[in-house]
């Protein structure tokens, strides 16, 4: 009893050091998983290739410099820099494409978002990064469609469609914030990007598909503001 009184506040009954250490380690795991809203630790991940990761980080940094240069001190939508001390947990998500089905003139890419994050946050910004191969002749017309699972059935619905003309090889970015936001409210937050070219054009993506040119999405999300309980 005397020993237990020694540590009334830490909630871990004063016990043999080994047992106490195990209890604290278990507490640490439980605390981190709870704050990440994960039921258990994720399975062993399949990390992206080093080339793809380095390119994505370089592009994100360049994008951030551009934003900071254009609006010093501001973030994406004109608000001052949010800080975690304000209690709103922010997330930055980097998602690499999974190859989907393809035909002679269209390619599908899938981006998955975890339910834990999608179910409890709102999207502040989401950008799709695509690397185009050099068109074989003149400007190449490309249709970029954002597809989402149709909640009512097995089909996909078109969330948005953008017509582009690719003049030369290089990176392009597309703001997909609205599509990802509407996705975040769904059961399976998975975004499909369909790239379609006219019949006699070849695929707009590099054929060698070198890792460092693999498409990816960068999203910023913020925990939904908890409803305020006013105490009188």
């Amino acid at each position: 009893a005397a020993e237990a009184a020694w540590c009334p506040a830490c909630g871990v009954a004063a016990s043999a050091p080994g047992t106490q250490r195990d209890a604290l380690l278990a507490l640490a795991k439980q605390s981190i998983l709870a704050k990440l809203r994960l039921p258990a630790r994720p399975k062993v991940p399949q990390p992206p290739s080093r080339g793809a990761l380095l390119t994505a980080l370089r592009m994100m940094r360049a994008q951030r410099w551009d934003t900071a240069a254009a609006f010093p001190g501001m973030l994406r939508d004109g608000r001052g820099p949010l800080r975690p001390e304000m209690g709103l947990q922010e997330y930055e998500i980097l998602s690499f494409a999974e190859s989907g089905s393809s035909t002679s003139h269209s390619v599908r890419l899938h981006f998955r978002f975890s339910q834990e994050v999608a179910g409890t946050t709102e999207i502040l910004q989401a950008t799709l990064y695509l690397f185009w191969a050099a068109p074989s002749r003149g400007a190449q017309p490309i249709t970029v469609r954002l597809l989402q699972p149709d909640p009512a059935g097995p089909n996909m619905t078109v969330a948005s469609e953008t017509q582009l003309e690719v003049q030369r090889s290089g990176w392009t970015t597309l703001d997909i914030g609205a599509a990802v936001q509407s996705l975040f409210g769904q059961e399976t937050p998975r975004l499909t990007v369909e790239l379609e070219v006219p019949e006699d054009w070849e695929s707009p993506l590099p054929s060698n598909h070198s890792d460092s040119h693999w498409p990816f999405v960068v999203a910023q999300a913020q925990a939904r503001t908890p409803h305020r309980v006013h105490r009188r």
Binding site: L27, I32, R41, P84, Y91, L94, S114
Partner: protein, 114 residues
Amino acid sequence: GVDCGADSRMCCRQEFFVDFKEIGWEDWIIHPEGYHMNYCAGLCPLHVASIPGLAASFHTAVLNRIKAASAAAAVGSCCVPTQRRPLSLLYYDRDSNIVKTDIPDMIVDSCGCT
């Protein structure tokens, strides 16, 4: 605030570092290498109640004497965090996306008596 020593009995901050490698989480948590899960422990007798940390000054000493003498209703005073900061995590989620987040108030920097 005060950091706990080997035989501290008064309210203080107990350092406790969780090495993610030790708990087998280093494969999905990219950064940092561990979590400082410090916690507050120790006694908060009446004469140090409501003083964050152990302020050592003449006025405090006098105030403490008055409190101890007043034997006011001995309401329990508790040793709690008085300053905390976020834990920044970079990890792989279930779909192997890379996620960065700052979890507010996860690391205790100092403790004091309520």
